[in-house]
């Protein structure tokens, strides 16, 4: 009889309709879709660079120097007669490669260290002092010094940007772990007798994944910007490699004669960073459980 009572009392529809999945919400968010599409376009451009803009981007042709943008040279030519369009297309390879590698390494390390730091007080104290020290210090200065000692090369850029960008990522992961660790669901799981390993896998990791994903897109954008800045001041990738930052180094001397040499590589750079930032913003909105709860 009591069971019948109970059911009568609970008689209430389960709140329909079902909440849309992450993918459904992503597709319905124009900013997310647009920024993601833009990134895919850049990635395709990097992958198929030799097909899109065949030829050696470094080939000099003084006869056509300072040609304004037109049908033959979409983005014009620079002071040595190099095709700016070709430079922009091929330059995306360096930029995206550095961005990707730096993001993967620094987020990977930050996740491991952040989890450790969130759970072991001793690790936390040491790591956080280190992070405090690095966080405030300008990464470019450090990377400049590093480039001086290690010599300009892609590997130097990757190493120094990783060192610089690991701190903010570590902070985000650790902060999230600390929040999740105190969440009541963890206490509830412990009280139920769920083993620690399983709590880690089923409770903590999924909860920290969203902020990691969001942070990754911001780190990616910071790495792209960092590579460009380092290359621009001449301590990034080697002078014979092509990147958007490198292209601007010399271009700046000709800004009054041929502004297009400055505008197009910079525009490509900005669009990439913009797309990454917008993606990060919309991911943050989409993954916020508070928003999901509000339907």
């Amino acid at each position: 009889m009591t069971a019948a009572d109970t059911q009568a009392e609970a008689r209430e529809a389960i709140r329909a309709p079902r909440a849309p999945s992450f993918l459904q919400r992503f597709v319905r968010n124009p900013t997310a879709v647009l920024s993601f599409a833009l990134l895919v376009a850049f990635a395709l451009m990097a992958i198929f660079a030799p097909l899109i803009a065949p030829g050696d981007p470094m080939r000099v042709n003084p006869v056509v120097r300072f040609t304004p943008p037109g049908a033959e040279y979409f983005f014009g030519t620079d002071n040595l007669g190099r095709d700016v369009f070709r430079i922009v297309v091929h330059g995306s390879r360096t930029t995206l490669l550095v961005g990707l590698v730096v993001t993967v390494i620094s987020m990977g390390l930050a996740t491991i260290l952040g989890l450790l730091s969130g759970f072991y007080r001793a690790v936390d104290v040491i790591l956080m002092r280190f992070v405090d020290g690095l966080m405030a210090f300008p990464g470019i200065v450090l990377a400049t010094a590093a480039a001086g000692f290690l010599g300009p090369a892609i590997s130097t850029v990757i190493i120094s940007l990783t060192i610089v960008l690991i701190s903010p990522s570590l902070r985000v992961v650790r902060g999230q772990v600390l929040v999740v660790r105190e969440a009541q669901m963890i206490e509830a799981a412990r009280a139920t007798g769920v083993p620690t390993g399983r709590i880690f896998r089923r409770y903590i990791l999924p909860a920290v994944m969203s902020p990691i994903l969001v942070q990754a897109s911001f780190i990616f954008s910071a790495a792209v910007l960092g590579e460009a800045a380092l290359s621009f001041i001449g301590v990034g990738i080697g002078p014979t490699d092509i990147s958007w930052g490198n292209a601007l180094t010399e271009a700046r001397n000709y800004i009054s004669q041929a502004p297009w040499i400055v505008i197009f590589p910079g525009l490509a750079l900005m669009l990439t960073i913009l797309a990454l930032n917008l993606l990060g913003d919309s991911l943050r909105d989409l993954l916020d459980p508070r928003l999901a709860r509000r339907r």
């Binding site: 002092r129 405030a136 450090l142 800045a229 001041i233 910079g266 750079l269 913009l274």
Partner: protein, 314 residues
């Protein structure tokens, strides 16, 4: 209050030492012989040995570390290889430009950020707000050295409102100084001002939903006072928190900006020192930037305590 300041001071020490230690290690652990790199191919064995002795590179690593520490505490950073004079005499010639540039840019960023953030928040979701939010996203994505080039192209080359490059110290007249620093500071501050706009906007939106704002309204205070002295007081606290990070970021960004505008600052000095393999000067530059940052952060912590009594009474 004193305890708070002491604690903040201790927390700032890593800000000074972690970058220095990293530079110290990089220099010693990097492949190749620093002395050889500094002197070039033509150096004799005697010259190399002399330089190694001068830099202490002939000592074991822990001894080097202690010597290095001693050098920092006595502010004896050795001689610049290139200038052939003590690092401590070279640096002040460059530091002023960078500090001024950073301070002006930081002020610009905070003012723009706070004003735009508040305007945006008060116009929540209408066209003004959307305009500010969109510009802020664009601003955050703007590489400052590229923006600097565009500014030069527009204002100096095309409109001829400002000098293309070069440095006029404040002693040569405030107007000339202002004209020479405005574009660099704007270029350096633009990204941070966009970040602060976003921060201020969201913080303001949060604060406007706080019950104590409703209380202030329920007490009949006019909206101008509710926003100006009740909401902004708390909403600006998070902006202050990021000001420290922004200052650090700007000291770094100054490197590229100084190059673009040909300003004789620390950043440019550092890049040149790196190119010349003038390691004592590099270390000195890093130390100076660390110290400037530490002082700035302490000032910010102090302001923080003034704005938020909850911290003072902890």
């Amino acid at each position: 209050m004193l305890r708070y300041l002491a604690k903040r001071f201790l927390l700032i020490l890593p800000t000074i030492f972690v970058p220095l230690i990293m530079v110290f290690l990089l220099l010693r652990l990097a492949p190749g012989d620093p002395a050889g790199m500094m002197l070039g191919d033509q150096a004799t064995a005697d010259q190399l040995a002399a330089l190694r002795a001068e830099l202490g590179l002939d000592q074991p690593l822990p001894v080097q570390f202690l010597l290095w520490l001693k050098g920092i505490f006595t502010l004896d950073l050795g001689n610049s290889i290139f200038f052939r004079e003590p690092v401590m005499e070279v640096i002040p010639r460059y530091a002023g430009v960078t500090i001024l540039l950073t301070l002006v840019a930081l002020t610009l960023a905070i003012v723009i950020g706070v004003v735009m953030g508040v305007i945006s928040a008060l116009n929540r979701n209408n066209p003004v707000d959307r305009g500010v939010v969109t510009s802020a996203v664009l601003g955050i994505s703007l590489p400052e050295f590229w923006f600097a080039l565009l500014l030069i192209f527009l204002f100096s080359v095309t409109l001829r409102w400002f000098p293309v490059s070069g440095w006029t110290p404040p002693s040569a007249g405030l107007i000339a100084f202002g004209a020479s620093i405005f574009l660099p500071a704007l270029a350096l501050g633009i990204r941070q001002s966009a970040l602060m706009t976003r921060m201020m906007r969201s913080s303001m939106l949060d604060v406007m939903d706080e019950p104590y704002i409703t209380t202030a309204r329920a007490q009949g205070l006019p909206e101008r006072k509710v926003i100006g002295s009740y909401a902004m007081r708390t909403a600006s606290i998070p902006v202050l928190t990021v000001a420290g990070l922004a200052a650090g970021y700007m000291l770094g960004g100054a490197v590229a900006i100084e190059i673009v505008f040909a300003l004789p600052g620390l950043g440019r000095m550092l890049v040149e020192a790196v190119a010349r393999r003038d390691y004592p000067l590099v270390e000195g530059g890093v130390l100076t930037i660390s110290l400037v940052l530490a002082v700035l952060n302490l000032v910010i912590d102090l302001l923080y305590a003034v704005l938020d009594p909850r911290i003072r009474y902890q």
